[in-house]
Symmetry: D2
Subunit: 273 residues, 4 copies
């Protein structure tokens, strides 16, 4: 049956520009806090950071956004669908439950990197990340006319990572391979396309992308294969929210798995839940 | 007062071999679970993974070990001081509170990578990470005669990361710099010394090392500076437990900050709490 | 200044009926799970239950609802403002992150107890709480025309609990006093008014009430004082959501504290945040 | 087979006195914090309290102790097996991860209430629970010669609570029944025996008891049946730790279930895990 082509037209989304709302979450004055009055136990810091991220992931995620841990002291979220009131609430709930506070910068652009650049600038304008009098900045602009294809998300994973790495190498050598692949992929996608790519565990990378063609994705994967000797495949989805786009991307990646292909675009019909 | 040299003799520990107990925590059959019966919401997976790691960090950390999130589906911990009963308990508490179970492989060696290699092998011997009938493996050997200097931990951070990156660049470009530095550092330390290095947030990397000289650390830092154009400094500590060694390393890193130096070894007196 | 009377007309809300949406959250087949294949460690159960409640409190609370732990295996939430899609999402996120699943019954009535009665019936109709084939029921009806004063919430606390109990008695004897007071209050308010009252920690009780007069509250407090020898005061608020009504009630309770009064109604102006 | 009697001699433990170590965990200056600078969102408080309790339950529980949420701002734990260093660590990990700190009072006595009385006194001696300059008190004494039968724990539940209440009544009316039963039981056991009883969810109550006979338990159950019209059964266990005693009690309670009896004592052989 060859109507697969009809079901998943590979360039379906080309020429529809993206509109990406990005939030930078920055813990206020975190570095100094971790060593005051003396260095705090590392595992307490790890626990606190991970749970803070988990709470943000749950808050943003239950509103159909995506959040990424990035460097933990700075986290990046895709927040189409969340307004200033949601952001205020996120800020308040963290203040009420953690020993630290966060600043939030929000901005919107076609290219994810441009939205993040502007979001970062809004926080930087208020003072240094280590300025102890700069707390709980909330500065942003929000999408005002949401569209069905505003977001483009690509979900990458490594071909047969379990068979080639996890079940063969010691865990650190597996991890090195994935990390080198990630380092190459994140750099390439940022430089060539202004995309933001995040390692999300296992052998998975999620990229917040502008509108890109199948050829763009193939060239990216080829580059990483050469530069880092790690072979990725990718599913790409579009949607009104990060969840919608990302969920479509996951389904497209499943298609890659079943059909042995390298790049799949989700059909334009939005999938929910 | 110039007895700083006396307080921190830089080669104090050289020639005392390390004894590192490493635990590999592997979520059983996790990949398939994340897409069964259909892909699960990404932010739920992120929340679950982060909290699972946080719980392991808290369990291991409150017994003076260190745990690292690594790839989240596979986590690595330094567990000197934890015996098989502690490991059984960790396995049971996860089973009782999460929708997934974990397998644990434990081993001991002078070089951290050798301990992890053996720990990984113990789990691999029982079946594939995606074999759904292989659950809750617990296979290991434990340190039987603990010594005061069994562990060597190096705590790296980037020189003036806030001033040069966080307050200047957009967050993703800052992150790319740190990631490229981490990718270079982890690879080098593993290849040259069999050390295990983990990004722990911000601009911090913690390495579980064998006995290494100041020259070894300087060569590592120089290599990364050339390869990735990121400048690290490092504090190094020894101790009976990961916490003890790591806490000493943090203090040594504080010394680097105050004195503008690149490599500092903690004085041999163990620091607690 | 005596315009306090003007600011807080004590019967301001009388004669505006309440519209309360109540959700019953019931863990599916939980009792049997806790002892299969043999009794699970009690502290693991306590940890799991508390965190499940915390996640529900956060999910519901960040949408301006209130959730109460009640018996932990059965939790009650006031969910005006949350629709069926929110409830589906709550159910899914628990399934994805916990070893248990939940059933949800939702209903709406003027009196809170009637809403809960109907919500409970919707779950009971699908099978026993210990029927292992009855999982993830989602049955409910939702408020369709929300009004500004739909909810009435009363926040009670014990007069000078710190001075009379916490700083004087051993903690268990303090606790017994609070518990006896709670047991009397919950019973009275349910029997006389169909209100649902929940202990929320310290010496605080939050009641979801129908429209009640100042005289009703005074009679309740007098009854408890006689029956259990514990003296409460109460702030009462109205609002479109549990948060709005509850927040107004907290402010009214602060008024009791500052003015030494026993019953205060919040001014009709809704307070947000 | 009638060797059940041999396996579970009902007075096996009588005449071996208990040695109970109790810790009072009191959040410092919590009341004022919850309303400063204005009342905090109730669901944030609920989330924070529940997670703080969960962390304490996990910390204490993974060392074989038991913790109870009690009033949340004051929690009671049975900590045989935990020394001052463990308590210091608990205090530090809370400081590092929460917006509040805790004071800890620890004491040892034959009767649980006497241990708590003394533990409470140690904190009260340092200042009021609402004295903002009194933070992180750590004052205690610890068991110095642990014995195999130091603790006696009784695990109560309500006969056929699911059939009689959960599947028949609305959840609040079920809850009222359980609460009235709990209020009567906690008061009776404290007054007659100096035991500490805690509701742990569902229809379960766990009591930390001194040495008591089967007749004592029967009289207690009869009293509650008359006073509150709720019928309990109970399993009783002894052990070196709360977990050991409590786990034996759970098994004994399972025996009640299978054999339709009202009071069962666990066989003296300690059960682990």
């Amino acid at each position: 049956m060859d109507n697969g082509t009809l079901k998943r037209p590979r360039h379906a989304y080309t020429d529809i520009v993206t509109t990406t709302q990005v939030t930078l979450v920055q813990i206020d004055n975190y570095g100094p806090w971790t060593v005051t009055p003396e260095p705090r136990r590392e595992m307490d810091l790890q626990t606190m950071q991970s749970r803070l991220f988990a709470d943000i992931a749950q808050f943003v995620g239950s509103r159909d956004g995506y959040a990424f841990f990035t460097r933990f002291d700075n986290m990046v979220a895709v927040t189409n669908g969340l307004d200033d009131r949601d952001h205020e609430r996120l800020q308040a709930t963290i203040r009420n439950r953690y020993p630290v506070t966060v600043s939030l910068g929000v901005s919107v652009a076609e290219r994810p990197i441009d939205a993040l650049e502007d979001a970062t600038g809004r926080i930087q304008a208020a003072g240094s990340a280590q300025d102890h009098s700069r707390t709980e900045v909330l500065a942003g602009e929000y999408v005002d006319a949401p569209g069905d294809d505003d977001l483009s998300i690509a979900h990458f994973d490594v071909n047969d990572a379990t068979g080639k790495y996890t079940d063969q190498l010691n865990e650190f050598d597996s991890f090195i391979r994935i990390e080198q692949g990630y380092a190459a992929l994140m750099k390439r996608l940022r430089e060539e396309h202004g995309a933001l790519s995040f390692f999300v565990g296992g052998d998975n990378i999620i990229s917040i992308c502008p509108d890109m063609t199948e050829a763009d994705y193939r060239a990216t994967i080829d580059h990483v294969s050469e530069a880092a000797d790690v072979d990725f495949k990718v599913g790409v989805g579009r949607g009104r929210s990060a969840h919608e786009a990302g969920f479509a991307a996951k389904h497209a990646l499943e298609d890659c798995r079943y059909e042995g292909t390298t790049v799949e675009f989700a059909a334009p019909t939005a999938v929910t839940r």
